[in-house]
Amino acid sequence: MTNDYGGIVVEGVARSFGTVQAIRDIDFEAPPGEVTALIGPNGSGKTTLMLILASLLAPDLGTVRVAGFDPVSHPAEVRSRVGWMPDTLGVWDSLTSLEVLKTLGALYGMSAADSARRAEELLVSVNLTEFGRQPARVLSRGQQQRLSLARALIHDPAVLLLDEPASGLDPGSRVELRSLLRSLAADGKTIVVSSHVLSELDEIADRAVFVSRGQSVKSQTLDEAGSQTRRYYVQAEPMSALAEALSSYGVRFETRGDSRREEFLVQLGSTAEASWLLRTLVMSDVVVTAFAPAGGALEETYMSLDTDRR
């Protein structure tokens, strides 16, 4: 039943609700010490997969191992090792943040002293110390989101499942969330993050699994994503000189229409190719005013998958 490999291994999982096939066939792997992004359009089965990993849903088919245990046959082992932050904010309005954390600690079998100490520490890590003794209903959405994260961490789980953790967070909190997740990963935790904010994930995640219509369609590491063919946008003064130079070097370009300023999009196979083009343009006296990847690495993959978005 168990294996030494922590992390998460999911093979061929399917799950339907009545006639709705929420998950058709998902393979998924999240190694310890890394942040794995779960990416897909709305209704693609991300949350369903998260519920299966959190031992709340049983899959119809397939095998699941979370921290080495099967959530169906060994739910208690999985639960003691998994921290889950749902996408819905469940709040006990009248309880203070500290009470919420201590209650959850008690329900994970921690002693009162341990969970009190851990709760205080977590409030510091999520910047909620001044709200520790305030009822949760006075917290803003972003603060409740951070409390929810602290709650998921109360029993120091080896596996962390975060469903849309960045939604509702202000930019500062996002940066802090990022560094918190990176340092948790550095401690060897397995972290799964689902999110729509692909540029966020670019900086947090080590690898990404793309799901679409209940199927895992692609899995890649960020290094792979970074070295794939990407689009760059280029601006110059004037644009006509740029067009001339690009044509003369045989670089195909298109005019991007969805931006306020006119800009050209070029498809480049690697970062080496990109630096070559930039250098060449500058050397041929084109006044380049902007030269940058058109989107994040993950966004490139996401768009290139051509998944039908609903």
């Binding site: 959530p71 003691s80 006990w92 009470e99 890590s125 969330l177």
Partner: protein, 377 residues
């Protein structure tokens, strides 16, 4: 969020099950904190106090001159506390589980080490204690009635204990239904329906069932009257005439209620009334004199004692031999035959326990089947 804190004392997380009592206590405390910090519960308590007080004062005024005043008042309060308790308990319990689900907090509890049984036990205990507060709040009136005399300690004690038990049953039904039904409103209404089924439905079914057990019976009925010879042409008996006992026999359809009394058993009012050991007056000490009108204390049972007597007479079946003493003495107290409340309480516990068991299965995660329209989180 800049620093990650390790647990201060690194230790492997135990996967042993949570100890039952501490898990239940945690849920209980969680529920009670929310209840004590909300306003709704205090409002309900306040309204309750006013209503019970109003009824008590009204009752005192109406029956102030009757015999057995303390007993009747005590009985009245017990009856009303039971009635209102059955109205309050579903409200306190029937959204315990699906209310959490709607608020998104149920799943958070479910991913911890707590088991569904512990969760339900904690929720039930919290709603029971919450409804016991209403009983406690009625105590001033109960003690007042007791102070008026006429009620012995045992009777009072059993009444209170049975009230508490019935509130617990209603709460258990509510918690059970709330773990089955998706929407809080639906489960509250369903719980009211179930409680009404017990409190009113049993009486209706009993009443209708009497038609099924109708039998043609010969009844011998006796009564005192003046001999015909002593009555003059105007119908006035002679002054020195003595009354005599005359028997009359007739046939009529009577229900054999002894076969269907069990239907009433699960009625909460019957359970409480039947369990209470009322002190009955000595046979013959009230009424029953062949001549004229009794001067002694009449047998005047209160509301609950009347229910108790009704059940006993239903258990006894039709009286085929009405003696002269019976016809003169008015209501005669019936002693307890076979107690029916253990049967009733058993039925109630089966119902509540069954609901809780199904609810526990429904709350066991990972879920294979979800009810239509449910979302886990």
């Amino acid at each position: 969020m800049s620093t990650v804190t390790e647990p201060s004392s690194p230790q492997p997380v135990r996967t042993a099950a949570l100890p039952f009592r501490s898990a239940v206590r945690t849920i209980f405390v969680l529920e009670m904190k929310q209840r004590l910090r909300g306003k709704g519960w205090y409002w309900m308590l306040g309204i309750w106090f006013v209503v019970i007080g109003f009824i008590f004062v009204l009752g005192t005024g109406v029956i102030g001159t009757m015999d057995n005043q303390g007993g009747i008042l005590f009985d009245l309060i017990v009856g009303f506390v039971l009635l209102f308790g059955l109205l309050v308990a579903p409200g306190l319990s029937a959204n315990a589980v699906n209310g959490d689900r709607a608020g998104g907090t149920l799943a958070i509890l479910q991913v911890t080490l707590i088991t569904p049984g512990q969760l339900l036990a904690g929720k039930w205990l919290a709603s029971w204690v919450g409804s016991l507060a209403f009983l406690v709040l009625s105590c001033p009136f109960i003690f007042w009635a007791l102070a008026l005399g006429g009620v012995n300690l045992q009777e009072a004690l059993v009444s209170l204990v049975m009230l508490a038990v019935e509130l617990g049953v209603a709460c258990a039904i509510g918690v059970g239904v709330s773990s089955l039904a998706t929407r809080p409103l639906f489960s509250i209404v369903s719980t009211y329906m179930l409680v009404a089924l017990l409190a009113v439905g049993t009486v209706i079914v009993f009443g209708l069932s009497t038609l099924l057990v109708m039998e043609e019976r010969t009844v011998r009925s006796s009564y005192y009257t003046y001999p015909e010879s002593s009555i003059d042409s105007l119908g006035v008996p002679a002054p020195d005439a003595e009354m005599e006992c005359v028997a009359q026999t007739y046939t009529t359809d009577l229900p054999d209620t002894q076969y269907i009394t069990w239907i009433l058993a699960a009625n909460p009012f019957v359970v409480v009334a039947d369990a209470v050991p009322y002190t009955l007056p000595e046979p013959g000490s009230t009424g029953g004199q062949p001549m004229g009108y009794s001067t002694g204390p009449f047998y005047t049972p209160g509301v609950m004692e009347t229910i108790s007597q009704g059940v006993r007479s239903a258990q006894a079946g039709p009286d085929l031999e009405v003696t002269c003493e019976e016809s003169m003495g008015g209501v005669q107290p019936l002693p307890q035959g076979v107690p029916i409340w253990p049967l009733g309480l058993g039925i109630q516990l089966l119902l509540a326990g069954g609901l809780l068991l199904i609810g526990r299965r429904r709350l066991t995660m990972p879920a294979r089947r979800l009810t239509q329209g449910t979302r886990i989180a």
